[in-house]
C-alpha cells in the first residue's frame, strides 16, 4: 500500500506492507535511525516519536496509521542548526551514557516542557516512567530536564524584557 505523511516537516510517500511498524518504517525505509527499538512488548520506550505532537511508542503504531499525520523524530529536534534546550540539558547534566534510550527520552522531555514549562521532579519522573534507561539511574535525566526548563525560563525572560 501507499502511505504519505509528514516526517520532521518533510512530505514523504512510500510503498509499504500494511503490517509495517512505524519504527521500522522510520529506521529501515527513511534511514532515520535515531529512533530505536528495544523490546517486543511496548515497555522500553526507546522508540518514542511524536505523532501530531503527542509522544507515542512507534513500535506500537503501524506506519499505515501514521498516514496523513505528522511525525517528529529526534532528528527533527534541532532547528536551524540550534540544539533544543533538552538536547543541551542532557549533555550538560550527563543525562545519557550509551545513548540508546536518549532519543525517546528527549522526545518525551520536549513534549512535557511544551505542556508544563516548569515541572517538578515528580512530574518529570512520571512523564518518563514508560521508558527504561538501563545506564543512568534517571537522576541525571531529571536534572537534564530541569536544566532545560530553567534555560527556557531564562530565555523567555530575556525575550520578554526585550519586547
Amino acid at each position: 500500500m501507499r502511505v504519505s505523511m509528514t516526517v520532521n516537516g518533510e512530505e514523504i510517500t512510500r510503498e509499504i506492507e500494511g503490517r509495517l511498524l512505524l519504527v521500522h518504517f522510520l529506521r529501515d525505509h527513511l534511514s532515520l535511525t535515531g529512533t530505536h527499538w528495544g523490546c517486543d512488548t511496548s515497555n522500553c520506550g526507546t522508540c518514542v516519536v511524536w505523532l501530531d505532537g503527542e509522544p507515542v511508542k512507534s513500535c506500537t503504531v503501524l506506519a499505515a496509521m501514521a498516514g496523513g499525520h505528522e511525525v517528529r523524530t529526534v532528528e527533527g529536534l534541532e532547528r536551524d542548526g540550534e540544539l533544543d534546550p533538552v538536547q543541551q540539558g542532557f549533555m550538560e547534566c550527563h543525562g545519557l551514557q550509551c545513548g540508546f534510550c536518549t532519543p525517546g527520552m528527549l522526545m518525551t522531555a520536549r513534549a512535557l516542557l511544551d505542556r508544563n514549562p516548569s515541572p517538578s521532579e515528580a512530574e518529570i519522573r512520571e512523564a518518563i516512567s514508560g521508558q527504561i534507561c538501563r545506564c543512568t539511574g534517571y537522576a541525571t535525566i531529571v536534572r537534564s530536564v530541569r536544566w532545560a526548563a530553567a534555560r527556557e525560563a531564562a530565555d523567555s525572560e530575556t525575550t520578554g524584557s526585550m519586547s
Binding site: 535515531g34 549533555m91 512520571e126 538501563r134
Partner: protein, 797 residues
C-alpha cells in the same frame, strides 16, 4: 593517604581549575547521541543486505527427530535456510565457550534449553525472515528436563550433556579456595556461629540494545567484516579465527556504538556465527538482531548461586572466619565469562573488607536445562555474589549479637597499615582506608538521626529500615601470569600519535558501551601530555584500527587500558623531551615539564610547547642525535595486580505494612575508586549501578517453571527499574589511589551494582526486624516480603 571529599547533592565538583586533564568535562560523544546520530549495529545498512532470523526451541529438553525446511525454502523472499546438520558438515555445529566448554551453534542432536538455536533463515527483509521461521517444521521427542538445581546431581536425573564423551551426570565442576581445616578449627572454638542459606537468583544484564551483528563476507578477498555488539572485539576476532578457520588478518570486527553491555556482550553467541555463515552462503551482507525475548531467554544470564554462608565470631563482635558452600547453576553449557584459572570468577573475595583468621569456600557447579551464561553482569567476575554473601551474613551476625551493623563492620575492617593485605583466600588488596569512607556515608546519611527516626516510627507501627553494606571489589583483570581467557593474556594495548600540528589520536583496545571512553581517555592522555582533550581523538572498537587487547568488562577499562593510555603518553613525552632539549639547546636534565610545555630550569621564558615539538618532530631541520622523526608510541600494558576499589553504602527503605511494597526512600553511596578522572562520569556510573541494585534486590529474576519455560522472557515479566522505583541518589567519595596503577585509578564501572543489593536487602530486613526475621531472599517483591512478614520467607528457587 585518603582525602575525603563530599559533593553538594545538586551539582558537580568543578574541574579542579585545571584547563586540561582530570576533572569534570562534558562528554565528547554526546553531540552525536543527542542528535540521534549514534551508530549502533542495527543502524548499519549495506547495499544488498539480507536479514536473518533464528528458529529457537520451544521446549527445554528434547531430542530432535526431524527438521523439514522445504516450505521455508520455497518462500519467495528466502535466500537460505540452515540447520544444525548443515553446519555439522562444515564442522561448525559446535563452538568453544569462554570457559573451555562447547556450545551448540545450532542444535544437532538435542535441544538443551528453551530458546536454544535450532535453525536460521536468511531472507530479503526482517519480516519475511520471521515469516519463514513459521514454515520450518521440527519434530521433537520431549525429554524430562532438569530444572531444579538442587536435584541436578540426583543419580536418576536425566543427563543433559550426553554430547560429552562418557558423561554420566550433570556435574560441571568443583572448586574450592581457602583452608578447610584451619577454618573448621576456628569455627569449632568460636563463641558465636551464624549460618544462613542465601540465594542470589538468576538475573539478566538486559542492555537496552539487544545483541546482533552485520556480517559481510567478501568471497573474492576471503575477507570478513563483522559489525557486532561486542564488548571485546579483539578477543572475538581471534576466536572467530579459531572457530571458523578464517585467517585472523582477514577478519575485521567492528564494535560500533553499543546500547549498553553490562557483561552481556562479552560472549560470542551462536547468532553471530550463524550470520557469518549466512553471509558466506549467500555472498551478501547479513544482518541479525535478536528481539527482546531472544535476548532474555538465550543470551548470558548472571548469578544463579545458592549459597550457605557461615560466620564465626567472638561474643563482642570480632569476626574470626567465614565459610561458604555454593551450588552454582550453569545452565546447559558452561558459558561463564571469566579468566580460565578462575571457574568461579573472583568469588574468592568473599572474605570482604574484614581482617579474618580463616576462610573457606567449596563450590559445586552443575548443568541444568536452562540458558547458558554466567556472565559478569556489571560485576567483576562473580564479585557481586561474593559481596552479597559476606555483607548479608555480617548483618545476620549483627542481628544475633544485637550490635549496630556499622559498628560491627568498623570493628573488623582491615586497617590502613595492613595494606597491601593478603586475604585468607590469597588475594592481595592493593590499598584501602575503609573507616573514613564508612564515616563519610554515615555523615551524608545522618545515620544517628535516621536511627532515632526509625525508633519513633517503629513505636507507631511503621516499617522503616536502614541498611548498610561495605564492599571491596577486585577489578582490572589482570596480570597475565595468572589470568587469561582461552589462552589470551588479559593485557591491553594503546597507541598514541601526535600529528605535526599538535593534535593527537589515541587508539584503544577496549570498547565503550556507554562509559564515555572518548572523553575519559582523552583526559588521561591530556593530563600526561598537555594537549587539550578536544584535540585528542579517541579511536576504539575496530580491530583494523586499534592495537590488540581484551576489551571492556570487569571494570577493566580504566585499571588496564587507562594505565596503558597514561604510559603511552609518558613514552611520547619522553621523546618530546629529547626533541625539546635539541630545540632549546640544553641537556634533558635541564628541562622542566609543565603541563603542555618544556622550559629551561630557572628560565620559564625559554620554552617550547608540545605543539612546537610535534611540528619539529615531523618537520625539516635537525633532531638530536639518535632521535627518529615522528612523535608516537605504542605499548601493551600488563597489570601487576588487580585494583581494589571500595565503598560504603547506606539505604533507607519504607515498607507499606498493608501491601508489603518496599520503597527505597534514600540511598547514600560513598565510593573510593582511587584517582578520579572525570567526576561527572564516575557519578553516572555509580547511579546506573545503584539502579541495577534496586532491580536485583526488589524486582528482577529470570525464573523458570518446572517444565523449563522461562518466565522472564519479556520486559513485562522481567522487571527493570523505571524512574518511579528509584530515589534521587546521594553520592560522595574518598580517594585512596592504587599504588601500582600509573595514575592511581582503580575503576568504578561496577562498584555500585556490586555494593548496592546487600544494602537494600539489609534495609528491608532491618525494617522487618519487629517480625523476628533474619533473612529473606531477593527479589523482595511485595509477595515475598508479605511472606516474610508472616514469618514464612521462602527461597525464590
Amino acid at each position: 593517604m585518603t582525602t575525603v571529599g563530599h559533593r553538594p547533592l545538586d551539582g558537580f565538583e568543578d574541574n579542579d581549575q585545571k584547563p586540561i586533564g582530570h576533572g569534570r568535562m562534558l562528554r565528547k560523544e554526546d553531540p552525536r547521541f543527542i542528535r540521534g546520530m549514534g551508530r549502533y549495529c542495527d543502524d548499519v545498512q549495506l547495499p544488498g543486505m539480507l536479514h536473518m532470523a533464528v528458529l529457537r526451541s520451544p521446549v527445554a529438553h528434547a531430542r530432535i527427530v526431524s527438521i523439514d525446511t522445504s516450505a521455508a525454502e520455497a518462500h519467495p523472499k528466502v535466500k537460505a535456510v540452515v540447520t544444525g546438520a548443515a553446519l555439522a558438515e562444515k564442522g561448525l555445529a559446535w563452538m568453544p565457550t569462554l570457559s573451555g566448554d562447547v556450545q551448540a551453534v545450532l542444535a544437532t542432536d538435542k535441544v538443551r534449553f528453551q530458546g536454544q538455536e535450532v535453525a536460521f533463515v536468511v531472507a530479503e527483509d526482517r519480516y519475511a525472515a520471521r515469516d519463514a521461521l513459521e514454515l520450518i517444521d521440527v519434530e521433537y521427542d520431549v525429554l524430562e528436563p532438569v530444572i531444579d538445581v538442587r536435584k541436578a546431581l540426583d543419580p536418576a536425573a536425566p543427563v543433559i550433556r550426553d554430547d560429552l564423551e562418557g558423561k554420566q551426570n550433570n556435574h560441571c565442576f568443583d572448586w574450592e579456595t581457602g583452608d578447610a581445616e584451619a577454618t573448621e578449627a576456628v569455627f569449632a572454638s568460636a563463641d558465636v556461629v551464624v549460618s544462613e542459606d542465601i540465594v542470589y537468583p538468576r538475573v539478566h544484564p538486559a542492555p537496552m540494545e539487544t545483541c546482533g551483528c552485520v556480517a559481510d563476507y567478501d568471497r573474492v578477498e576471503g575477507r570478513l567484516t563483522l559489525w557486532s555488539t561486542s564488548q571485546a572485539p579483539h578477543a572475538h576476532r581471534t576466536l572467530y579465527a579459531i572457530v571458523a578457520g578464517l585467517p585472523e588478518h582477514k577478519i575485521r570486527v567492528i564494535s560500533p556504538d553499543l546500547g549498553g553491555g553490562f557483561g552481556g556482550k562479552v560472549p560470542i553467541y551462536p547468532g553471530y556465527v550463524c550470520a557469518i555463515v549466512g553471509s558466506i552462503v549467500t555472498g551478501k551482507p547479513v544482518k541479525w538482531m535478536e528481539d527482546r525475548s531472544e535476548n532474555l531467554t538465550s543470551t548470558g544470564f548472571a548469578r544463579d548461586y545458592i549459597m550457605r554462608g557461615e560466620i564465626a565470631a567472638t561474643r563482642d563482635g570480632r569476626i574470626l572466619a567465614v565459610r561458604t558452600n555454593v551450588l552454582a547453576d550453569h545452565g546447559a553449557f558452561n558459558g561463564v565469562a571469566a579468566p580460565v584459572k578462575y571457574p568461579a570468577g573472583f568469588f574468592g573475595v568473599f572474605t570482604g573488607s574484614y581482617d579474618l583468621q580463616a576462610a573457606y569456600c567449596k563450590m559445586t557447579a552443575v548443568f541444568t536445562n536452562k540458558a547458558p551464561g554466567g556472565v559478569a553482569y556489571a560485576c567483576s567476575f562473580r564479585i557481586t555474589e561474593a559481596v552479597y554473601l559476606i555483607e548479608r551474613i555480617v548483618d545476620c551476625l549483627a542481628y544475633e549479637l544485637q550490635m549496630d551493623p556499622i559498628e560491627l563492620r568498623i570493628k573488623n575492617f582491615i586497617q590502613p597499615d595492613q595494606f597491601p593485605y593478603r586475604t585468607q583466600t590469597g588475594w592481595v588488596y592493593d590499598s584501602g582506608d575503609y573507616e573514613p569512607t564508612m564515616r563519610k556515608a554515615m555523615e551524608i546519611a545522618g545515620y544517628d538521626e535516621l536511627r532515632e527516626e526509625q525508633a519513633r516510627r517503629r513505636a507507631q507501627g511503621e516499617l522503616m529500615g536502614i541498611g548498610v553494606s561495605f564492599f571491596t571489589e577486585a577489578v582490572g583483570a589482570g596480570p597475565r601470569k595468572d589470568m587469561d581467557i582461552l589462552g589470551l593474556g588479559m593485557a591491553d594495548g594503546c597507541e598514541l600519535r601526535v600529528h605535526p600540528t599538535g593534535k593527537a589520536v589515541v587508539r584503544l583496545s577496549v570498547q565503550s558501551q556507554g562509559q564515555g571512553h572518548e572523553t575519559t581517555f582523552a583526559q588521561i592522555v591530556a593530563e600526561e601530555i598537555g594537549i587539550p582533550p578536544a584535540d585528542i581523538d579517541v579511536v576504539h572498537g575496530d580491530t583494523d584500527q586499534t592495537p590488540f587487547g581484551l576489551g571492556t568488562y570487569g571494570s577493566r577499562s580504566t585499571p588496564v587500558s587507562g594505565a596503558a593510555a597514561a604510559l603511552v603518553a609518558r613514552k611520547v613525552r619522553d621523546k618530546a623531551r629529547l626533541i625539546a632539549s635539541g630545540m632549546l639547546e640544553v641537556s634533558v636534565a635541564d628541562l622542566e615539564w609543565e603541563k603542555g610545555s618544556f622550559h629551561v630550569k630557572g628560565d620559564p621564558a625559554k620554552c617550547v610547547t608540545i605543539q612546537d615539538i610535534a611540528m619539529r618532530a615531523h618537520g625539516a631541520g635537525d633532531l638530536p642525535e639518535g632521535v627518529e622523526g615522528g612523535l608516537e608510541a605504542q605499548i601493551c600494558y600488563n597489570p601487576e595486580n588487580l585494583t581494589y576499589p571500595h565503598g560504603a553504602y547506606i539505604c533507607v527503605v519504607d515498607i507499606d505494612p498493608g501491601t508489603a511494597q518496599v520503597k527505597v526512600r534514600r540511598f547514600i553511596a560513598v565510593d573510593d575508586c582511587g584517582t578520579r578522572i572525570n567526576p561527572m562520569i564516575i557519578e553516572g556510573q555509580v547511579h546506573g549501578g545503584l539502579t541495577d541494585g534496586v532491580g536485583m534486590a526488589l524486582m528482577e529474576m529470570i525464573a523458570f517453571d518446572e517444565d523449563g519455560n522461562c518466565l522472564g522472557g519479556s520486559l513485562m515479566d522481567y522487571l527493570i527499574p523505571t524512574s518511579l522505583e528509584v530515589p534521587d541518589w546521594e553520592t560522595g567519595f574518598t580517594v585512596t589511589p592504587s599504588p601500582h596503577h600509573p595514575i592511581g585509578a582503580k575503576g568504578v564501572g561496577e562498584s555500585a551494582t556490586v555494593g548496592s543489593p546487600p544494602a537494600i536487602v539489609n534495609a528491608v530486613l532491618d525494617a522487618l526486624k519487629p517480625f523476628g526475621i533474619r533473612h529473606a531472599d531477593m527479589p523482595l517483591t511485595p509477595s515475598r516480603v508479605w511472606d516474610a512478614m508472616r514469618g514464612v520467607p521462602r527461597p525464590p528457587i
